[in-house]
């Protein structure tokens, strides 16, 4: 718990620092071009990449029952991990005599329109707080503003915040997507000797987290004259589509040197395709998909940026309770509660696999 607190405090300080720099996150690049992950420095071991040990803070809720509504981009294992953190928080509140009920809903495919429909429906119900993992910040942010104006308490969570200036009350999740994309790409560039052709796989069109990472990747590649982005594709958070897109890219660019994957499904589909076609392509990607971790362990994927989904879920519920009680960002909680990303390599894969999935079945 002490380690967790230390991490949280440092991350909070870091988030405040980073807020002063434009759209940078929890990672920075040094002047020499070598990237150093600040969050990674904070972790003594890879096992600290996900914090499963949480306890409620000292805040005393004003009610004994809260009812929330959360909606996220798409049905996907990444958000199932977030859900487990939420359930742990709900269980701990229940032990204190506080009942928390909530809905945690998403469409089968990412869709801003579907999200708007869900938010409109939710607004008609008597929820204490509505939480949103923004599907498309340009489309959803105005909707959130309108809900706030109508008196609904709205927060954002997981990996995609609303657009700058949105009136939503607070955000819990990854505040450094751009930097995550830049860090992964920097590692890729270093691996390739700062030369080569790169393709970028993105998730859902308009999804802030995916788009930010893609921007970070492009900006990093742009720094090196011998490197170029030859393709950018969106898999809409589908592994199958990611696989097909990778095959297409490899067909169009058989001399491809690297792939930057900006979401959880990208690296799985990309690794499948690269393995199948026997191409020598360096893959960097995001998240903790079990198949992706096994590809990392086998050396097919070079590195993965693992987000602490469990803590995102836990802190989302804890923040929602405070917001429901009428609190605003300030002493009780910051406007953006940052969660860490840890870049792991082949030597870390077995540990991460054991930690997240065990050795069964």
């Amino acid at each position: 718990m002490r380690k967790f607190l230390k991490t949280k405090i440092m991350l909070t300080v870091m988030a405040a620092t980073l807020a002063s720099t434009s759209c940078t996150g929890g990672t920075t690049a040094d002047s020499g071009g070598e990237s150093v992950s600040q969050t990674e420095v904070l972790l003594e071991t890879v096992s600290g990449a996900v914090d499963f040990e949480h306890e409620p803070d000292s805040y005393v809720p004003k009610k004994d029952h809260y009812n929330f509504y959360f909606t996220y981009k798409t049905v996907h294992p990444w958000w199932d991990a977030v859900a487990l953190g939420m359930e742990e928080a709900q269980r701990q509140y229940l032990e204190q005599g506080i009942t928390i009920t909530y809905e945690y809903m998403a469409p089968e495919g990412a869709s801003a329109e579907d999200q708007i429909r869900r938010l409109e429906e939710a607004q008609k119900q008597d929820y204490d707080v509505i939480g949103v993992d923004v599907a498309d910040d340009a489309i959803i942010s105005p909707v959130l503003d309108e809900m706030i104006d109508n008196g609904t308490k709205v927060m954002t969570f997981s990996s995609s915040d609303a657009a700058e200036g949105c009136k939503r009350i607070a955000y819990v999740g990854n505040t450094h997507n751009y930097q995550d994309g830049a860090d992964l790409t920097e590692a890729l560039c270093e691996k390739l000797g700062y030369r080569g052709k790169i393709a970028i796989l993105v998730g859902s069109v308009g999804a802030p987290c995916h788009e930010d990472r893609a921007r970070g990747a492009k900006d990093t590649i742009a720094k090196y004259g011998d490197m170029e982005v030859v393709a950018t594709e969106y898999d809409m958070d589908s592994v199958d589509l990611s696989y097909e897109l990778t095959l297409k890219i490899l067909e169009e660019h058989p001399d491809l040197d690297g792939l930057v994957c900006c979401n959880m499904s990208n690296p799985v589909g990309a690794a499948r395709a690269v393995t199948e076609t026997q191409h020598d392509v360096v893959i960097v990607g995001m998240d903790h998909d079990e198949e992706a971790l096994r590809y990392l362990n086998d050396g097919v994927i070079y590195c993965l940026g693992v987000q602490d989904c469990f803590s995102i879920g836990y802190d989302t519920i804890q923040t929602a309770v405070k917001i429901a009680d009428g609190n605003q960002p300030g002493e009780l909680f910051p406007e953006k509660i940052d969660e860490i990303t840890t870049v792991i390599y082949q030597e870390d894969a077995a540990t991460m696999l054991a930690m997240l999935y065990g050795d069964i079945i």
Binding site: W79, L84, Q90, Y104, E108, G358, I360
Partner: protein, 500 residues
């Protein structure tokens, strides 16, 4: 007769002691033989005991899990029936009722799933297709049993059944399920023999599901990865096939210092194996400990029996000794009585002629040995006894004898008085009696002379002392007897009655 009694007592003692020793010897020999025999067969029995014991333990755990699964399916059906009958119209009502059935039936994370894969639990409603992949199997099966690893490596057993008839809030529900934490299942398997054996649950690939350690070699690792190098490859392969095919098996392997035996049995429908391991050396040591304890107990029993027999023997011996002593005392007393009776004159109560003869014999021996220097003999005879008997009867005669004896005894208090004939007494004087003999005789004679005048008892006495010429008492007696006759004449002259 006395001799015969002594033989009987000895026989009893001898028989008791010998019998005790034989019994002790038999117990000791039997105990030593049993201990030796137990130790001898221990090693042979250990393997057999281990296999039987382990299989039984593993079976028991497998049955526990099977019963748990059956109970959960049964409870799920009851829960669905209950909820269907409640006429639920809102999500709040559904959550309340899910809470009720979960609590009443002890169902862990009981959830309903609608046809859009929305999962409803007591506290949450969520889209669950990616999270619960096993739900896709429900429609094609009566029931689904699946093992899942939850993000964070927590392992769960998911049980699901279809609910084709269930419609709530205008939605069709396709399934319900429970999610059992395998750690909690492991706790159920921690029977009372937990400290004597290790157990663990395994998936088909040998992955540890329960998080429990299976001995120092396998630990919490993958079953088959850990056993590589510890058993022959052929055995490894056959056991791997057993896991894949859900079959029983057992493995014995050397872990360095000890021999370990494990047994695994399949748990129906789960694809799991429950393995139980015990160290044979522990069993062997345990059996040896038990044998050793039994041996010690037997030794203690022998010692106890020995001490008991010893104590009983001592008591018996003492009692027999006491009994013998009593008998001896009684015999001595009887002998003494008989002897006293034989040496006592029945009329006067003084010692009789037989006693005098015994004393005479003893004194003669002492005279011969020169041990006697001073000895006086007084011979006394009652005057007129025949006359009294003839004229007044024998009763009066007896009275005269008694009166005469009393007079003699009163005067010769420090002498030994014997009645040696019908009217004749002898007094032997030694020590103080010898020293005062003459004085007493004078007083006696004076009394006799007075009695003549008063017609009382008249006794004639003669006396003599031992001289150097005397070789036996008889010599002294004869002189005294001669003197007594002289005195009798003298008294007759004084008027005393005589036989004539």
């Amino acid at each position: 007769m006395k001799q015969k009694k002594q033989i009987t007592n000895k026989t009893i003692v001898f028989t008791a002691v010998l019998g005790s020793l034989v019994v002790l010897a038999m117990i000791t020999a039997n105990t030593l033989w049993a201990a030796w025999k137990t130790r001898g067969v221990t090693d042979d029995a250990v393997s057999e005991v281990s296999a039987f014991y382990l299989e039984e333990m593993a079976d028991r755990r497998a049955r526990t899990i099977s019963n748990l699964i059956s109970n959960n399916f049964e409870h799920m059906e009851k829960a669905v029936a209950f909820i269907a009958a409640e006429g639920i119209d809102s999500q709040e009502e559904l959550r309340d009722n899910l809470g009720i059935v979960k609590s009443l039936l002890g169902l862990h994370r009981f959830a309903l799933v609608d046809e859009d894969n929305i999962v409803y639990t007591q506290y949450t409603t969520y889209t669950g297709r990616s999270r619960h992949a096993f739900l896709s199997e429900v429609q094609d099966n009566d029931r689904v049993i699946t093992t899942v690893t939850v993000y964070g490596s927590s392992k769960h057993l998911c049980l699901a059944i279809p609910t084709p008839e269930l419609t709530l809030m205008g939605k069709k529900f396709k399934a319900c399920f429970v999610q059992l934490d395998i750690n909690e299942i492991s706790d159920l398997l921690a029977f009372d023999d937990q400290n004597r054996a290790n157990f663990a649950l395994y998936a088909k690939n040998g992955g540890n599901l329960s998080g429990t350690e299976l001995g120092p070699i396998i630990k919490q690792d993958n079953f088959f990865e850990a056993l590589k190098g510890h058993i022959p490859e052929a055995d490894w392969n056959s056991n791997y096939e057993n896991f894949q095919n859900g079959q029983y098996g057992s493995i014995t392997f050397d872990s360095g210092e000890m021999e370990e035996t494990l047994c695994y049995v399949p748990i129906p429908e789960t694809g799991w194996q429950v393995a139980v391991l015990i160290r044979e050396s522990l069993i062997r040591d345990r059996i040896r400990d038990i044998s050793q304890e039994n041996f010690k107990t037997s030794i203690n029993l022998i010692l106890f029996a020995f001490v008991s027999v010893l104590v009983l023997a001592v008591i018996l011996f003492r009692q027999l000794k006491q009994f013998s002593r009593q008998k001896l005392e009684e015999e001595k007393e009887t002998s003494r009585s008989f002897r006293q009776l034989a040496n006592t004159d029945s009329v006067t109560g003084v010692r009789n002629k037989h006693a005098y003869a015994e004393n005479e014999s003893i004194i003669n021996r002492k005279i011969g040995a020169g041990e006697v220097e001073k000895l006086g003999v007084v011979v006394a005879d009652i005057n007129g006894l025949k006359h009294v008997n003839d004229t007044q009867g024998h009763a009066a005669g007896d009275k005269l004898i008694k009166d005469a004896c009393v007079m003699i005894c009163q005067h010769f208090k420090q002498g030994a008085v014997f009645r040696i004939g019908g009217d004749e007494f002898a007094v032997l004087l030694q020590g103080q009696g010898y020293e005062s003999m003459q004085e007493v005789i004078d007083r006696f004679n004076k009394k006799v002379e007075e009695n003549i005048k008063e017609d009382e008892v008249v006794v004639s006495i003669g006396y003599s002392v031992l001289t150097q010429e005397d070789h036996q008492l008889r010599d002294v007696f004869e002189r005294a007897d001669t003197m007594m006759y002289e005195r009798k004449k003298e008294l007759k002259a004084m008027g005393a009655k005589t036989r004539a």
